[in-house]
C-alpha cells in the first residue's frame, strides 16, 4: 500500500492504495467519481479520459500513484455553480450524445483539444478525437459540438 494525495475536482483526497491501482479505478472506487467510465482494457476507447494538471489523459493508462500530488479534473468537476461548461452545453445543444457512455471522455478530450487549438478545422477536430470511440453518434454531431464550443459556424 502506498499513501497518495491529490486534488480531484477541487477537493483534496488521500488514500492508501495498491501500487498497481489504476487512476480510473481509484477515481471510481475510492473517490466515488463514477462519471469517469471504463470501456476497454487496451487504452483505445478514451471513455476514461480526465484532465491531469489540465491536460487530458486516459486514466486507465495512469497509475493512481502517478497522480500523487497532482490535480485531477473529471467530468463531474466541469460545471461550476450549476453552470454547465461550454463544452457540456455544446454537446447538449448539438445532440452529440446518445447513450452517453463515451460522453465524459469525449467532453474532456474536446476541451483539451480547444485548449491547444481554439479554432480547429473539421479535420483537426476529427484527428483530435481519434483516441475516443463512440458507437452511437457516428461522430457527426460531436464534431458539430466542438465547432459550436469553439464559437465557429456550424452546418447541420
Amino acid at each position: 500500500m502506498t499513501k497518495i494525495q491529490m486534488t480531484v475536482d477541487g477537493a483534496t483526497v488521500s488514500d492508501d492504495v495498491e501500487p498497481r491501482m489504476l487512476l480510473v479505478h481509484y477515481l471510481r472506487e475510492k473517490v466515488g467519481k463514477t462519471g469517469t467510465v471504463i470501456g476497454c482494457d487496451t487504452s483505445n476507447c478514451g471513455a476514461c479520459t480526465v484532465h491531469l494538471d489540465g491536460r487530458s489523459v486516459k486514466s486507465c493508462n495512469v497509475l493512481a500513484v502517478q497522480a500523487d500530488g497532482h490535480e485531477v479534473t473529471t467530468v463531474e468537476g466541469l460545471a461550476k455553480d450549476g453552470e454547465l461548461h461550454p463544452m457540456q452545453a455544446a454537446f447538449h445543444e448539438c445532440h452529440a450524445l446518445q447513450c452517453g457512455f463515451c460522453t465524459p471522455g469525449m467532453i474532456m478530450q474536446s476541451i483539451d483539444l480547444l485548449n491547444d487549438n481554439p479554432k480547429p478545422s473539421e479535420d483537426e477536430i476529427r484527428l483530435g478525437l481519434e483516441g475516443n470511440l463512440c458507437r452511437c453518434t457516428g461522430y457527426h454531431n460531436i464534431v458539430r459540438a466542438v465547432q459550436t464550443a469553439s464559437g465557429q459556424e456550424v452546418g447541420s
Partner: protein, 824 residues
C-alpha cells in the same frame, strides 16, 4: 387508422434531450457504478480452446486465495443453472443443443465460461481466477461455415450433425408469386441471369458500455440491475429458467450504454450472478472486460449468401433465389436462428419481383453465438439485393438508379403486397431518390468519375447506390406466432396525471440511448396539451413498469409510442365527463384543445391539471367515476412498418495503395412523420457509421485454432472520428398508415442501407479494371490486391495505407472460391 391531423406543438420539434443533463455531468447510473453493502465480485474462467473436453478442474488453490468466497464449476451448479433459452426455434425439428451457462464437461467456443470465482473484491476475484487449474483435451473444432455445413467436423459430436434448421419460403408455395426456377430457366434462354456469392462477415456489436450485472438477493425480492436492452424479457426468462417466482424478481436496466441488439441476449453471466447471489445470500456483481465482451457477448451477421437473379433483356426482374448458410456459433442464442428468417421477408426490398425463393440452413460451429445486431437479417438482405441490382445494371450497361426505377413499386401502387407476403402500407421511392440525387450532385460526380477514368488518375472515384426498405416496429404478435417466435410484439404504456398537474408516463420500451424520455414526452405533451417539461417518462424497471417487451427492431416509437398515444387519449376521455360535471355542462358541448376543456360558445373552461387535482381530492366527482386520472394501453400493431430511403455514396480509391476514402454520403430516408428531427438525425448518423464500418473496416476474425484474434479495440476496427465524414442527411415524408402518429422506425435504417451503398461505390471505382466484387470489409489490402491481380494498378502497396487488417488472404473479383482466414 387515421393519421393525426391536429396541429402539434411538440411533435416535429428539435427538442434537446431531457436525458442529457445527467449524462454530460457524469451523474449517470451505469450498472457498474453500483456498490451494495457486502457486495461480492465475480470473475470468469474462460476456455482458451474452441472445442475441448474438460478433463479436470482443480479449484483448490483458487479457493485458498485471499478474499475468495467461492469457486464453482459447471458440475457444481449443474442442477441450478438450467439451460439458456432459445425463444425462436425456426422449425419444429430444429437441433438445439442444451446450453448451460457454465460449461459442464465440454467447452464449445473460446471464451465460454468453465468456472466462476466469487471474491470480496473484483481484483481478488480476477487474481484467483488465474489460479483455477483446468485440464483440457482439445477436440477438433468446427470453424469454417461451409465445411461445418457439410458436417466435416462436429461442433457437438453427440448431436451427429451441425445442421440446426432448414427454413424455406417459396412464393409459389405461399401463393404470393410464381415459381423462381421457371423464371431462372426462362431467363437462361432469353434473358439475363446474375449469379453471385457474398459473404456477410461476422461482426461484433461493440456497445461502448461493457455488460455488467448486479444481483441483490437480500430482502423479500431478488433485484437484478443489468446493462440490458430487455429487462422485461430478462425477468420472465430468469424466472422461467431458474424456477423462481416472477413476482419475486425485479430487473432494473438503469442507464445502458448502447446495445445495437448486442444486449438483448439473456446472458450466462446474468444467470450465473443470479445463481451465485441466491446461493451465497449476498449481492454479487460482474462487469466484463472489453476482451470478454468481444469473445463472449454475441456476434452478428456471419452468413454466406448464394444468390441468383433473373431478368428480362430490358432489365425487368423476373425472379430472385436466395440460398443462405448462417453461422449460429456454438449454440442457438435467444433469437439467433430467427435472424436470417427476419431477413427472408426483405430480399425483394422495394421491388416488384414476380417470383422468389429463400432458403436458410442454420449451422452450429465452435465460435461465439450469433444473434441480432443492428438491423438483424435486414442488412444482409438489403446488401444482397442492392449489390445484385447494381450488377444487373452493369450487365445491361445502364445507370444503377435506372434499373431500380424500372423495378420498384410506384407511389400510386401502395398499399402493395410483396412477393414475400408483406403488405407495404406506404412509400414513395421516386421522391426520396429525386431528393437524394439533387443533394448528392449525382450527375456532376458521374462526370468527375468519367474524367478521372479517362485521365487514368491514380485516384479513382466510385459512386454507390442503395435504395432500401425494411420491416420494422417488431412486431404484430400474430405474425410472430406464425413464425414460431416465443413471445408477442405488443407494447404497454401508462399515463398518469398527478395531482400537481404533472404527468407521469410509464413505458415498457426501455431505452439505451435512443432518447425515449424526450420523444415520448413530446408525444404525451401534445396529446394532453401540457408542457413538455411537465412530462416525466419512467422506464427500465420491472417494478415501476411491470409490463413491456423492451427495445429492439426499431419498435420503441411505432409500437411503444402508439401505446402512449392510446393511453393518453384514454386519459382525456376519462377526464371529459369529470370536466362536464365540474363545469356543469354537457360532455357533448366540450372541446378539448391545448390542455383545456372548454364549453363550446363560452369562455368557461378547465385545465386538465385542475381535473387531475379534482380526481385526486375526489370531493366532487360524477357518480360512478373512479378517483385518479390515469390510464393504460397495450398496443399490438396490425402490421410492421416500412421506412425506406435512397442512399448515395462516393468514395475515392487510391489505386496505388488500395486505400478507400469516403468522399460524400447523402441519405434521404422516409420514416413518415418525424417526432424529433434532431434525435432522428442522430440515429441516422450512428446507423450510417455502423453500416459503413461493415463495408470497410470491421470483422470478427478467428484463427485456424478458433481463437478470436480481433478481441480488442486494437484489432477490431470500430471507426473513429478521423475515419468518418460528415453526412448529408434529409428526409421525405410519407406517413405510415398503420399508427396514429404516422411514423416509422429509424433505429436500423442507416445501417441497413449504408453497407451496400459503400461496397457498390468501392466496386464502381475500380470496375473498369474488370473487378466485380470485393469481399467485406473492403480493406486496402483487398482492394489493392484486386486491382493488382487485374493488372490495372500500380506497384506494391505501401505498408502504411495497406497495412493488412488481420487477414493475409485476399478477397477479390472472383465470387465463389475465395479464401478468407479460417472462414472458407
Amino acid at each position: 387508422m387515421t393519421v393525426t391531423e391536429q396541429p402539434a406543438a411538440e411533435i416535429g420539434k428539435d427538442r434537446r434531450r431531457k436525458e442529457d443533463q445527467r449524462l454530460i455531468t457524469g451523474r449517470t447510473r451505469w450498472t457498474d457504478n453500483l456498490t451494495l453493502p457486502g457486495m461480492l465480485h465475480m470473475s470468469m474462467v474462460r476456455s482458451p480452446f474452441a472445442h475441448a473436453r474438460i478433463t479436470s478442474i482443480d479449484t483448490t488453490e483458487a479457493k485458498a486465495a485471499p478474499n475468495v468466497v467461492a469457486v464453482i464449476t459447471g458440475k457444481d451448479i449443474a442442477e441450478e443453472q438450467g439451460s439458456l433459452p432459445n425463444a425462436w426455434p425456426i422449425t419444429p425439428d430444429q437441433v438445439t443443443p442444451a446450453h448451460p451457462p457454465v460449461a459442464i464437461d465440454r467447452a464449445t467456443f473460446a471464451g465460454e465460461i468453465v468456472a466462476v470465482v466469487v471474491a470480496r473484491s473484483a481484483a481478488a476475484a480476477r487474481d484467483a481466477a488465474e489460479l483455477v487449474d483446468v485440464d483440457y483435451e482439445e477436440l477438433p473444432a468446427a470453424l469454417d461455415l461451409k465445411e461445418s455445413a457439410e458436417d466435416t467436423v462436429l461442433a457437438h459430436p453427440d448431436l451427429g450433425t451441425n445442421k440446426s434448421a432448414l427454413w424455406v419460403f417459396d412464393s409459389a408455395d405461399a401463393g404470393t408469386g410464381g415459381n423462381v426456377e421457371e423464371a431462372i430457366a426462362k431467363a437462361r434462354q432469353d434473358g439475363i441471369v446474375i449469379e453471385r456469392e457474398y459473404r456477410q462477415q461476422r461482426l461484433i456489436p461493440a456497445f461502448m458500455e461493457p455488460r455488467s450485472v448486479v444481483v441483490d438477493p437480500t430482502g423479500e425480492q431478488i433485484t437484478m440491475w443489468s446493462a440490458t436492452q430487455v429487462p422485461h424479457i430478462l425477468r420472465f426468462l430468469l424466472a422461467a429458467v431458474l424456477g423462481v417466482s416472477e413476482s419475486k424478481v425485479r430487473v432494473i436496466a438503469p442507464d445502458v450504454g448502447g446495445g445495437f441488439g448486442g444486449k438483448l441476449q439473456t446472458t450466462p453471466e446474468e444467470f450465473i450472478a443470479m445463481v451465485m447471489a441466491r446461493r451465497l445470500g449476498k449481492p454479487v456483481k460482474f462487469t466484463e472486460t472489453r476482451s470478454e465482451s468481444m469473445m463472449a457477448a454475441h456476434h452478428g451477421r456471419d452468413q454466406w449468401q448464394r444468390l441468383t437473379l433473373s431478368a428480362e433483356k430490358d432489365g425487368t426482374v423476373t425472379g430472385f433465389k436466395v440460398d443462405l448458410l448462417a453461422d449460429l456459433g456454438s449454440h442457438v442464442a435467444l433469437i439467433g436462428g430467427g435472424v436470417p428468417v427476419l431477413g427472408a421477408f426483405m430480399y425483394n426490398a422495394i421491388y416488384k419481383f414476380p417470383s422468389y425463393r429463400f432458403q436458410v440452413q442454420t449451422v452450429l460451429t465452435n465460435k461465439a453465438w450469433t444473434d441480432a445486431y443492428r438491423g438483424a437479417g435486414r442488412p444482409e438482405a438489403t446488401f444482397a439485393i442492392e449489390r445484385m441490382m447494381t450488377e444487373l445494371a452493369v450487365e445491361l450497361g445502364v445507370d444503377p438508379l435506372e434499373i431500380r426505377e424500372k423495378n420498384w413499386i410506384k407511389h400510386e401502387e401502395f398499399p402493395f403486397t410483396s412477393v414475400a407476403g408483406l403488405e407495404y402500407d406506404s412509400g414513395n421511392y421516386e421522391a426520396a431518390t429525386a431528393l437524394a440525387k439533387e443533394h448528392f450532385g449525382y450527375d456532376e460526380l458521374r462526370a468527375e468519375q468519367a474524367r478521372r477514368r479517362e485521365a487514368k488518375d491514380p485516384v479513382q472515384l466510385g459512386i454507390g447506390v442503395s435504395t432500401f426498405t425494411e420491416m420494422c416496429g417488431l412486431a404484430p404478435s400474430r405474425v410472430l406466432g406464425s413464425l414460431d417466435y416465443g413471445a408477442g410484439g405488443w407494447e404497454h404504456a401508462s399515463v398518469r396525471m398527478l395531482p400537481t398537474g404533472k404527468v407521469e408516463v410509464l413505458t415498457g420500451a426501455s431505452a439505451h440511448g435512443q432518447g425515449h424520455e424526450t420523444a415520448f414526452s413530446q408525444i404525451v405533451a401534445d396529446r394532453l396539451g401540457v408542457p413538455f417539461e411537465d412530462v416525466e417518462v419512467l422506464h427500465g424497471d420491472t417494478q415501476v413498469t411491470p409490463k413491456g417487451l423492451d427495445t429492439y427492431g426499431s419498435r420503441s416509437l411505432v409500437v411503444g409510442g402508439e401505446a402512449l398515444v392510446r393511453a393518453a387519449d384514454k386519459v382525456v376521455e376519462k377526464a371529459k365527463p369529470i370536466a362536464a360535471h365540474l363545469l356543469e355542462a354537457s360532455a357533448d358541448d366540450l372541446d378539448f384543445a391545448g390542455g383545456r376543456f372548454t364549453v363550446r360558445g363560452t369562455d368557461q373552461g378547465m385545465g386538465i391539471g385542475e381535473i387531475a387535482l379534482a380526481t385526486f381530492a375526489a370531493h366532487n366527482l360524477p357518480d360512478g367515476v373512479e378517483p385518479s386520472l390515469d390510464s393504460d394501453a397495450t398496443f399490438d400493431p396490425v402490421n410492421f412498418n416500412y421506412p425506406h430511403g435512397t442512399h448515395l455514396c462516393a468514395v475515392e480509391i487510391d489505386t496505388e495503395t488500395g486505400a478507400v476514402k469516403m468522399r460524400k454520403y447523402t441519405c434521404v430516408d422516409d420514416i413518415g412523420n418525424v417526432i424529433n428531427p434532431l434525435i432522428v438525425a442522430g440515429q441516422v448518423h450512428g446507423g450510417l457509421v455502423q453500416g459503413i464500418a461493415q463495408a470497410l473496416w470491421e470483422e470478427a476474425v478467428y484463427d485456424e485454432s478458433g481463437t478470436l484474434v480481433s478481441a480488442s479495440f486494437v484489432d477490431y476496427l470500430v471507426p473513429t472520428a478521423a475515419d468518418t465524414i460528415s453526412f448529408d442527411v434529409d428526409h421525405t415524408t410519407t406517413p405510415a398508415t398503420t399508427n396514429t402518429l404516422g411514423t416509422k422506425g429509424v433505429g436500423e435504417a442507416g445501417t441497413i442501407a449504408s453497407t451496400p451503398a459503400v461496397v457498390n461505390a468501392v466496386v464502381d471505382a475500380i470496375r473498369h479494371f474488370g473487378i466485380n466484387d470485393i469481399q467485406m470489409p473492403c480493406t486496402p489490402e483487398r482492394v489493392w490486391r484486386a486491382i493488382h491481380d487485374s493488372g490495372g494498378g500500380g506497384g506494391e502497396p505501401t505498408t502504411e495505407a495497406a497495412a493488412p487488417h488481420f487477414d493475409p488472404a485476399s478477397g477479390n473479383q472472383g465470387t465463389a472460391d475465395r479464401t478468407d482466414g479460417a472462414d472458407s
